[in-house]
Amino acid sequence: MSLRGKAAVKSPWILHVNCGSCNGCDIEILAALTPRFDVERFGMLHMGNPKHADVLLVTGPANRRNAKVLKNLYEQTPEPKVVVAVGTCASTGGVFYNCPNVLGGIDEVIPVDVYIPGCAARPEAIIDGVILALKKLAKGAE
């Protein structure tokens, strides 16, 4: 692996986007930052700015109200980037499937690289999914 790929894998900065999730998955994402799971040991930082981010962690189903916002955030994130759909809602729409105001999973709006199932997704599964996405990020960096 080249230096660029290695640096990309060692320092993934994460942007957490909530598309109308019930907060279950969001709490599990925050749990990953706590001393018990401590994702910072992999160099992951929780960023609030799409321009600094490498990994988009999206929770909740895509809906008509905020599809534009999600697309905007995706476009503001500089390449190379990966998108991780956290939880059942973000993957398929979940319990909101076929609701009139819900489009479905977030892959209806932006391309998704990794799907993490679960309602809510466990912190271990979220960390696992992000690590899986990092392989793709390294390929993009090289």
């Binding site: 040991r41 160099g43 700015n49 500089p78």
Partner: protein
């Protein structure tokens, strides 16, 4: 003479690496304070290489220029100190580095960037007078602004300038962007509006700003070391301990508002500096 120039050049070229390692230690220590494992010590280098290899999103053509100026001017300020030149000149070069970052934030019409730039201005307003006054203190104690003249002095300056030393210690967390003075851009709260001054910087311009920050850190610790001109090794130890203290304070205290910072830092440091000057001229302190 020749040996000294070579040594200075080595210190100057390794200063960004030293600064990066200091930042890595900061992240590791902070993680240990919070009962976490934390990233490896060389994490800041991974961050900068990654930022450098990202595809740039440039909101304004001036922005990368100002980011480059920020790190370049910080390097010039450090070179002025290392090569024994005028301390006051180094402080003013450092102010222009800060100003170029503020201009970089102002060069983009973004509300977050504007808020960050204004907060950064207030931080500069708080810390720069202290730096200038510290240089003036060095002048009163040694009769010269020149770093080589200060280094030629055979006695520790901390004995004549204790008030200035504490005032300088109060300016350290402001310039290192540490709590309780992390008003414009904090090390921990990446989601808050305080990230404002960095909002529009991304990719290699953010990497340049980070490298400039490492250099600035080394510059500050070098000026702290100047309080011990007779034994620079001891000065380096004191500077390192001060940095450790800054990290500890960063982890213990919450952020202040800008008015509390301005009033608190100016009141305490101006009282200490005036007391120090009065006792210096009254002959109480050496």
């Amino acid at each position: 003479m020749f040996e000294r120039i070579i040594l200075s050049l080595i210190f100057l070229t390794t200063s960004p690496i030293l600064g990066g390692i200091l930042r890595g230690m900061d992240r590791k220590l902070t993680a240990r304070f919070q009962n976490r494992i934390g990233p490896p010590i060389i994490q800041p280098f991974y961050d900068v290489i990654k930022l450098w290899s990202k595809k740039p999103i440039i909101s304004s053509n001036l922005q990368p220029v100002f980011a480059g100026l920020y790190s370049l001017l910080s390097l010039i300020a450090l070179a002025l100190v290392i090569f024994g030149q005028d301390l006051l000149m180094a402080v003013f070069t450092l102010s222009s580095a800060d100003v170029s970052m503020i201009l970089g934030s102002y060069s983009i019409r973004s509300p977050y960037s504007y808020v960050g730039a204004r907060r950064e201005l207030i931080q500069v307003l708080t810390s720069e007078p202290l730096l200038v006054l510290t240089s003036v203190g060095f002048y009163f104690a040694t009769g010269s602004f020149g770093v080589s003249e200060i280094l030629g002095l055979g006695k520790p300056l901390i004995l004549s300038l204790p008030g200035f030393f504490i005032a300088f210690l109060m300016a350290l967390p402001i310039e290192a962007r540490k709590s309780p003075f992390d008003i414009s851009a904090s090390h921990h709260a990446h989601q808050e509006i305080v990230r404002g001054v960095f909002t529009e910087f991304s990719g290699y311009s953010l990497a340049l700003i980070e490298i400039g920050h490492w250099i600035k850190l080394i510059l500050f610790l070098s000026i702290l070391g100047l309080f011990f001109p007779n034994n620079l090794l001891f000065g380096a130890v004191i500077a390192f301990l001060s940095y450790f203290l800054t990290i500890m304070v960063d982890n213990i205290f919450p952020r202040l508002t800008w008015s509390a910072m301005l009033k608190g830092v100016w009141t305490i440091s101006l009282i200490l500096i005036s007391l120090n000057l009065i006792s210096l001229f009254g002959g109480v302190l050496g």
